[in-house]
């Protein structure tokens, strides 16, 4: 009978304390009853093993005695939990972006990447942990959201919104690129420039260096909006307007960069788009100054390209926005989802 005692003990360790002894006594009595019915006289070890195997592991047996709704966060609270967690994470991202922006603009000290990452990861765990804890307590107190009780009127259901789905993958790529640029601007500003060859030193671009806070601010705004878009999953009037404004701000920043670069180049006496290449000596290596000019011109071309791309994108967005407004006001027909 030693095996039965061990089994009952193992089950008991995982039972609710309140009626543990009672369940254990009943389980033991039942096991012995079953054994008696199956064997004549003293049961063999094989018979006991067979019976216990049939009953199932102690974990399984113990679990069947716990109340059915044994959840950290149950199915009734889960949708609300997901929504709250989403909001909390959104607020978290926005707060972190704002803090990062403040640090970039006001802090003159170099930023320690490890320290910063550690802080963000720590705060992220705290945020998720607090939400989980609050909901676990609500579950424990058996608080149920008002999803079953009460009268409801189907006529109060909100109108179906036309969904202009966002391209999540594209947004993730956008955020990643923005984060990489921010990281470079924050942590390796001494690497932004032009290299003549792999062994030469880096020739810095003075215009970018002086515009870093503005560039980062523009990128942070962009990330913030992209995060909201990923969370919402589709375009809404608010996000469209915000995205258009953010793009206009990016255009402004690019214009500042371009004008700065132009002014700097004019100061050095190089006005034409490819004047530095034209000034290259036929043979022999160009001077460091000339390489710096070439680098500035390369950056200028990059700024122009970026400006054109973002302007086209912004015009398209404004067009879509106006079209959406017109569609909304002119008819109630259901449009197929549009990839925006």
């Amino acid at each position: 009978m030693n095996l039965i005692d061990r089994y009952v003990y193992a089950v008991g360790r995982q039972l609710p304390r309140k009626n543990r002894a009672d369940i254990q006594a009943e389980l033991k009595s039942t096991l012995i009853d079953t054994l008696e019915a199956r064997s004549e006289g003293e049961p063999s070890e094989e018979q006991i093993v067979a019976l216990l195997t049939e009953f199932g592991t102690p974990e399984k047996v113990a679990a069947s005695y716990w109340p059915e709704s044994q959840y950290l966060i149950g199915p009734k609270l889960y949708p609300l939990f997901r929504m709250s967690l989403g909001i909390a994470l959104l607020v978290f991202v926005i707060v972190q972006l704002v803090l990062l922006g403040v640090v970039v603009i006001f802090n003159q000290q170099p930023i320690q990447i490890l320290e910063l990452t550690g802080d963000i990861v720590g705060s992220l765990f705290t945020t998720v942990g607090v939400v989980v804890l609050v909901f676990a307590v609500l579950q424990r107190l058996d608080v149920k959201p008002n999803i079953e009780q009460g009268k409801w009127d189907p006529r109060e259901l909100p109108e179906v919104e036309e969904k202009y789905e966002v391209n999540r993958r594209g947004l993730v790529v956008e955020i990643t690129i923005a984060l990489i640029i921010i990281a470079i601007l924050l942590f390796w500003p001494d690497k932004i420039g032009f290299r003549l060859n792999p062994w030469s030193g880096i020739i810095l671009n003075p215009v970018i260096i002086s515009t870093i806070p503005l560039i980062i601010l523009s990128l942070l705004i962009g990330i913030g909006i992209d995060v909201v878009l990923i969370w919402r999953g589709h375009w809404e009037t608010g996000t469209r307007v915000a995205k258009i404004c953010a793009n206009l701000f990016s255009i402004y920043v690019l214009s500042v960069l371009l004008t700065g670069q132009n002014a700097w180049l004019a100061e050095q006496g190089y006005v034409g788009l490819f004047s530095a290449i034209e000034a290259l000596p036929q043979n022999g290596t160009p001077s460091i100054e000339l390489v710096q000019i070439m680098s500035a011109q390369a950056f200028r071309i990059a700024f122009i390209v970026a400006l054109i791309v973002i302007s086209i994108e912004t015009f398209k967005m404004i067009y879509r926005f106006i079209k959406q407004l017109i569609d909304k006001s002119s008819s109630t027909r259901i449009l197929p989802p549009e990839k925006a």
Binding site: T30, E54, F55, G56, K60, V61, S64
Partner: protein, 115 residues
């Protein structure tokens, strides 16, 4: 459909759900006289309803928590056993459930006859 559950697994799950649904009715119907756990399992098996032991005992406790059964330890005989018997509330509920079941069974019978 790459992640489809095998048919046998689905069938086992659905059969289990069906049996679980009627187990309360079967249990209440057999407890007009006090019975201990194994005796009830044995009785149900004799009537053709095989029940897993691991399913029945927790169910008995839940029914008791809902006031449908009463139980007490009986120390007569060679060792103590917990005996369960249907309560007055359980009896009333059983009558209602019986009517529901008969209606449901006749509807399902009718539906299945068309298959």
């Amino acid at each position: 459909m790459a992640n489809q559950t095998p048919l046998s697994e689905t069938q086992a799950k659905l059969t289990q759900e069906l049996r679980r649904g009627v187990l309360v009715l079967a249990t209440l119907s057999q407890l007009d006289e006090p019975k201990y756990g194994y005796a009830l399992i044995d009785r149900l098996a004799q009537q053709g309803l095989e029940v897993e032991q691991g399913t029945l005992y927790p169910l008995l406790r839940r029914l008791e928590e809902h006031g449908l059964l009463q139980s007490e330890w009986n120390v007569e005989g060679n060792r103590p056993r917990r005996y369960y018997v249907i309560s007055e509330m359980g009896k009333t509920l059983l009558q209602d459930l019986k009517v529901d079941w008969q209606q449901l069974a006749s509807v399902i019978e009718n539906l299945l006859s068309q298959v």
